[in-house]
Amino acid sequence: MVSAQKGQVRVITGNAVGAYGALLCRPEVVAAYPITPQSEIAEQIAQFVNNGELDAEYVEVEGENSAMNVVLGASVAGARVFTATSSYGLVFMYDALQETSGYRAPVVMVNANRETPGIHAVSSGQQDMVSTRDTGWVQIIVENDQEILDQIIMSYRLAEDNNILLPVMVNYDGFYLSYLAEAVEIPLIEDVDAFLAPLKKQTPRQKLVPGVNIGCGTHGIEMGYVEARYKHCQAMERVKPKVDEIDKAFGDYFGRYYGGQIEEYRTDDADIIILASGSATGTVRTVVDSKREKGIKVGLVKLRLFRPFPAERLIEALQGKKAIGVIDRSVGFGWKYGPICTELRALSREIGTAPILSYIDGLANLDITIPHIERVVDELDTAAKGKPYQEVTWIPMEE
């Protein structure tokens, strides 16, 4: 198979990367409202449109609810669309998020993770993603700037696949990645075109056309509702193997593989595993390596796909392990464990008897530091040996 050419390497921030991701995928309609820590995406895309680099209709909206409604409307009219938001903006479009997925519109959105309303915080955290996990969207979490770009490209290939037709949210930590300047390889637009070309070979999807008698999102009474929900849930199930398939295709073409639904780092012979997501996984890798040098067989499972929850891959990765620690960058109202931990616990029977420890850390721009993760490893090590352990730890409260 032909490979992509080497792209241009530039030192740019996560937000700029988000804008480039949009640029390269050629959306036809963009509507985004600025909000910290995502403002630069909205600004940069506006600049791209203004200077002709992006041939798109940029609709200025007065708020995020309108932003999602605009791109939803454009999407069901057949356009490729893009939007971006964070925290307050994401919850402001809560009803529109559900319309979008209910209509099975292939919208791609980047969400710069930031804490949600209730306690005002202009800071990083995954609460916004967690509070919208039941909106029927595919939710993916990335670790660094390069992955933001690559995942946006992969998201179009996923969303617009006729067997999927679901909106995709690409989550990246606000502040930690949105303003992080790293060297990023920006692929050539022709190569992105080639990667997304298989979508054009499909039967064109249904779209609203003025004058044509076709409707979308009509009332579902009784079995109409049940059928639509059933099909939506079935599509969610199909997302899981498709994410792995697209990751492989992306890696084969561009040379960068991310593992698909999850990435396993030094897990094969590991006794204990840390399950983490987002930018913190980078820090966990460093600790895994240093603890390994001291003889502790620890591994990392990086959760990339959050919705749908990658049950099968997680069971396979975690089966037979002696202790698992889940680091949540959010809180779970209603369970004492963090949200990702709670979901993992649903697979306890399949995973085995390993203790599953919940760690809540990294809220409101407080770092998940190297000492924190070293502590997690030490406690997992203790738990794996059958000694008493603490089931739930809010690390910042213990400091």
Partner: protein
């Protein structure tokens, strides 16, 4: 869990007693220029106090004086003054700047 954190809020939900300072940002240290009033021109209209974002213009009886502990040097008072009685002067030119 051994909690070492000492509660900031005495109440269950995050209510705070506004008699006491919960979060006081030393915003006066942020500015790079400060408003200087020409008292001859001031007619005590109060527009500067009205528009000041951190509300740090203090009523002195027949003129308004900036509270330098909080003034961020945004210059809105100077822009809004109908008599052009306020000018923004760089901090470097003051002994206490």
């Amino acid at each position: 869990m051994v909690i070492k954190h000492k509660n900031i809020f005495p109440t269950e939900s995050p209510w705070s007693n506004t008699d006491k300072l919960l979060l006081c940002l030393d915003t006066g240290s942020w500015r790079t220029e400060r408003p200087v009033l020409d008292r001859e021109k001031c007619n005590y209209c109060g527009l500067c106090a009205l528009y000041c974002p951190p509300q740090c213009m203090r009523d002195k009886g027949d003129y308004y004086e900036v509270d330098l502990a909080y003034c961020k040097g945004c210059g809105i008072c100077a822009t809004e003054c109908p008599r052009k009685a306020i000018s923004m002067v760089p901090e470097g030119e003051f002994a206490d700047g």
